[in-house]
């Protein structure tokens, strides 16, 4: 570490307490003084309740597996992504927008890839890309918002679930972890991160992801840090208020309802704690390969740098928008496929160069596929089942599942063969080593993906 950036804290030699360290060291045997925010008190109780069952604590160490979730927002046209080119029904349903047979990148004698996905074909051949065919869920909903919510929360179509599937994973396995265990690139936290014990940070430009002020004396910076770092001094704890945690009100009330102010205080704390680390990594780890200059390229480049720098993240979340192709879709979809291809290829090269490709899995999903028949505007309306991609050095590559029949349609849409929660369950159980039954509420059949 050079002298001129001495205000930066090294990620692994941090003198700052992470939330986890802070909680672990301050929790034991002590009650909480009145000045500690309520949300932190609640966390002590949560943590203590959890510590009784240490089996569910999963290490968040720097060699653990990483999941990158890539949302294709708007409803990707799965049939023009993985194309059933040998089926005449495909060309009958899509006389204008069907991809001509000679342009399809064939995978076998039945299906092939969109011509823009040439790099993904390479990854497929190298054994680093899995294609999961016909993924969906029963009673598909064709509303963008509702179907996205179903995918984000892994609920049944007729049940509204408030917490996300990744949020429930954080709750189950990452309690008390550093907030950067979940990272969303951008300015939003996806609903899939929503959890009982809120977790996850978001950022898109590390150099801006910090508190900036005009005071060069550093005195306001120290006040700011003090306000956002409630490191407890043991001397301020009144030991007489200690005793059994069980006897304190709220000890068993793991269900937390933060007030809005508490929510803001916690977010401010998470922001302060994560910004030092993110900035330090960003300074030290420039991208090792060149990424395409697209929004998705920028996002995955940043994920690559954070992985290289060892940010203690289990789940990264990125998205690519623009897939709602109701009108004249051919050129739009071709461009999206090309951008997807180029960004994923760069990401795989980056991770390979880092030596991290084997411990990262990238998974794509979209809220739905599109209608089999093209519409009157040479586009496609909202549909149902569609393929997903999984990329990484540690996965079982190839085609998984069956391509849905183009004859046995469900209200004009492809019927699913694989419930998307089987994909989630497989990733949880076999990749993240988390109990999928606990996270998803029931046991879904596992796939041979990992």
């Amino acid at each position: 570490m050079s002298d001129d950036d001495d205000h930066i804290i090294e990620p692994h030699t941090s003198t700052l307490h992470t939330r986890r360290e802070f909680l672990r060291t301050s929790m034991l045997g002590a009650a909480v003084s009145f000045s500690v925010p309520v949300f932190l008190q609640k966390t002590f109780f949560t943590l203590d309740a959890m510590a009784a069952d240490s089996a569910i604590q999963t290490a968040t160490g720097k060699d653990s597996p990483i999941l990158v979730v890539l949302q294709l927002a708007g409803g990707n046209d799965g049939m023009n992504t993985v194309i059933p080119y040998a089926d005449d029904n495909y060309y009958k349903a899509r006389p204008v927008i069907g991809i001509p047979r000679q342009q399809v990148i064939t995978l076998n004698d039945r299906v092939g890839l969109n011509p823009g996905l040439v790099g993904l074909k390479g990854l497929f051949d190298q054994g680093n890309l899995a294609i999961l065919q016909g993924v969906g869920y029963p009673n598909p909903n064709r509303s963008h918002f509702r179907s996205t919510e179903i995918w984000q929360t892994a609920s049944d179509a007729n049940i509204v679930e408030s917490y996300g599937w990744l949020g429930r994973y954080f709750d189950s396995c990452c309690k008390g972890a550093d907030p950067t265990v979940g990272v969303a690139i951008g300015n939003q936290i996806p609903q899939s991160f929503a959890s009982l014990d809120p977790t996850g940070v978001s950022f898109s430009r590390p150099e801006q992801y910090r508190w900036i002020n005009g005071d060069h004396s550093g005195s306001s910076e120290s006040v700011y840090r003090e306000m956002n770092e409630p490191i407890m001094d043991p001397a301020t704890l009144d030991e007489n208020d200690g005793g059994s945690v069980d006897s304190l009100p709220g000890a068993t009330a793991v269900n937390r309802h933060e007030s809005t102010l508490e929510f803001l205080q916690r977010t401010a704390l998470d922001a302060q704690m994560s910004s030092d680390k993110v900035l330090a990594i960003a300074k030290k780890y420039p991208a090792s390969v060149s990424y395409p200059h697209t929004a998705l390229g920028d996002s995955l480049s940043l994920v690559g740098r954070m992985i290289a720098g060892g940010l203690a993240t289990r789940v990264f979340y990125v998205s690519q928008g623009g897939y709602d192709t109701h009108i004249n879709q051919v050129a739009t979809h071709a461009r999206l496929m090309g951008e997807l291809n180029d960004a994923l290829v760069a990401f795989s090269q980056d991770l390979t160069a880092q030596g991290n490709f084997g411990r990262v899995m990238l998974m794509t999903f979209s809220e739905f596929g599109r209608r089999v028949n093209q519409n009157a505007s040479n586009g496609t309306d909202h549909g149902a089942a569609a393929p997903m991609f999984a990329m990484g050095g540690g996965i079982k590559a190839g085609l998984h599942g069956q391509y849905p029949s183009l004859e046995a349609l469900n209200e004009g849409d492809l019927a699913y063969n694989v419930d998307f929660r089987s994909v989630y369950a497989t990733i949880l159980d076999r990749w993240l080593r988390a109990p999928s039954k606990e996270v998803l509420g029931r046991q879904f059949p596992l796939m041979n993906l990992v």
């Binding site: 000045s35 708007g74 064709r142 509303s143 963008h144 918002f145 509702r146 969303a184 951008g186 300015n187 939003q188 936290i189 940070v201 978001s202 950022f203 898109s204 430009r205 150099e207 801006q208 992801y209 910090r210 508190w211 900036i212 002020n213 005009g214 005071d215 005195s219 006040v223 700011y224 003090e226 306000m227 007030s259 809005t260 102010l261 929510f263 803001l264 205080q265 977010t267 401010a268 922001a271 994560s274 910004s275 395409p292 200059h293 697209t294 929004a295 998705l296 390229g297 920028d298 690519q320 928008g321 623009g322 109701h326 009108i327 739009t332 461009r335 519409n375 009157a376 505007s377 209200e411």
Partner: protein, 491 residues
């Protein structure tokens, strides 16, 4: 439950609350004047503020164009000239978009009737339409004007007007919909998001309603609504249990008969103005009156703003400022002009709310969704910029989100604010040298509420540590610290 607040209970804090929620807040002097008016007069002003249209004339470019003629002229050009002309049009539209956002922000900031602007902002989030698909600033302005004129009027009439609004017809593809090829987009969203809420209709109702909304066209000569009877499906539809050769207006009338509609709208209005997750009993009471009145908005708002519940602890300072509220209110509280248009637009984008460009037809989720670690730090840094204590990094906007074109770090640059607040206005001379009074005064100016004793002590100590007569620099840094807090995000 909706017992009115007694006029005796009207005080500075309640006046500040009404001014914050019904409008965009005000300075200590403005809050005091609003309070002195008395409860009854204050609510009357909110619901019957002056007409400000002379003060905010429409932008000069906000006139219809003859698109047919433009297209024909374009066709006659040579390929190179055509490309150039198209680029010119694109550039002009981009400039108009920036101009339009600024035009509205200025009106929110300076109107003597900010209350109508706030209600218009509510309806914009409700009938969320984006210029990123409409690509026509004039039509976006026109829709905004429709929502403004009808903001406190009749909801049924507003929905019908919106169904014929050209921007909406482009946004949700109604203009593409014709007999034999109905487009479901508007039919679905009008029920899911504008009137009933999901669960109160079936997929079949969507398909039947889509047939009723056929034959709506835009006249390319003057960008107006035109009904094309030969493209309308006038056969029978069965919709929400009723059968007939329904038109689009008939469909909306049937929707307005559903109790779910009034409940859906009142819940959304209450959430926007008061607090999240209102008690169903409260919503039902408001909804019953709303329906009985024939969906008159002004009496509904009158009941809300006069209710004791609106001023309850569940409501006061429990709401997170939207990015628009943050920008406009900060400008008011610091008595500074708004940042220049491109900067204001850029910062709103970073915080997640660009007027005229909602992320989708559902509008902005709002509430806690405004705040993530990145948007919170951005708000802190925007305060730094507004105070003139530091630069703001501005990123040249990516082209439309759906093009995915990146704008890497090379396109980021820093700007300084050359119009920082005048501290003599923001901090009266008599409190400047007394740290206790100074902090108490700034708490009222910034939060309209005291801080916790611990935080108050922290700020008093900060001032005290800088010596007896704090310099302007110290005071600006103090303001920045006080705005870099969870409390400043609340209203």
């Amino acid at each position: 439950m909706l017992a009115p607040l007694h006029a005796r209970q009207w005080d500075l804090q309640k006046a500040a609350h009404l001014l914050n929620r019904a409008g965009f807040g005000g300075t200590p002097d403005e809050i005091k004047a609003f309070c002195d008016m008395g409860f009854d007069q204050a609510v009357n002003l909110v619901l019957g503020g002056p007409d400000d249209s002379a003060q905010f004339p429409k932008p000069e470019w906000a006139v219809p164009q003859n698109l047919l003629e433009m297209r024909q002229q374009m066709m006659m050009l040579a390929p190179d000239a055509k490309k150039q002309a198209q680029q010119q049009v694109q550039k002009q539209y981009r400039q108009e978009d920036i101009d339009l956002v600024n035009w509205w922000l200025q009106r929110m900031r300076y109107s003597p009737n900010p209350f109508r602007e706030k209600m218009t902002l509510f309806w914009h989030g409700h009938f969320a339409t984006s210029v990123e698909k409409v690509h026509d600033s004039y039509l976006m302005w026109q829709q905004n004007e429709l929502l403004r004129q009808r903001a406190f009027g009749n909801f049924g009439l507003m929905v019908k007007a919106v169904s014929r609004d050209p921007a909406m017809m482009i946004w949700l593809d109604t203009r593409e919909s014709k007999i034999g090829h109905p487009n479901e987009n508007f039919a679905r969203e009008v029920m899911e998001l504008f009137t009933l809420g999901i669960g109160n209709y079936t997929e079949n109702d969507v398909q039947q309603a889509a047939r009723a909304f056929t034959g709506y066209r835009l006249d390319p000569r003057d960008e107006t609504f035109r009904y094309a009877p030969f493209q309308h499906d006038n056969t029978d539809k069965t919709f929400l249990g009723q059968t007939g050769p329904f038109s689009g207006d008939d469909i909306l009338d049937i929707i307005l008969q559903q109790p779910a509609c009034a409940a859906f709208i009142t819940r959304k209005i209450w959430t926007f103005y008061a607090y999240d997750e209102p008690d169903p009993g409260l919503v039902n009471a408001l909804a019953a009156n709303f329906r009985e009145s024939g969906y008159e908005i002004r009496p509904l708002m009158d009941t809300i703003f006069r209710s004791a519940e609106f001023y309850s602890p569940d409501s006061v300072r429990t709401q997170i400022k939207s990015p628009v509220q943050f920008v406009v209110q900060t400008s008011k509280l610091l008595e500074t002009p708004l940042a220049r248009p491109q900067i204001a637009l850029n910062s709103l984008r970073e915080m997640g709310q660009v007027p005229f460009a909602p992320p989708n037809v559902k509008g902005w989720d709002g509430g806690r969704a405004w705040i993530t670690t990145s948007t919170l730090l951005y708000r802190y840094n925007l305060a730094n910029f507004a105070l003139g204590t530091g630069p703001l990094q501005v990123v040249r906007p990516r082209q439309l989100a759906d093009t995915g074109k990146g704008a890497g770090p090379a396109n980021a640059f820093q700007v300084q604010n050359y119009q920082p607040p005048d501290l003599n206005k923001v901090i009266p001379a008599q409190v400047r040298s007394d740290p206790n009074r100074l902090i108490a005064y700034l708490c009222f100016r910034l939060y309209q509420d005291p801080l916790t004793p611990h935080d108050t002590e922290t700020f008093i100590k900060y001032v005290t540590d800088h010596g007896p007569n704090p310099s302007d620099t110290t005071l600006r840094e103090l303001l920045h610290l006080m705005m870099s807090t969870p409390e400043y995000q609340l209203t």
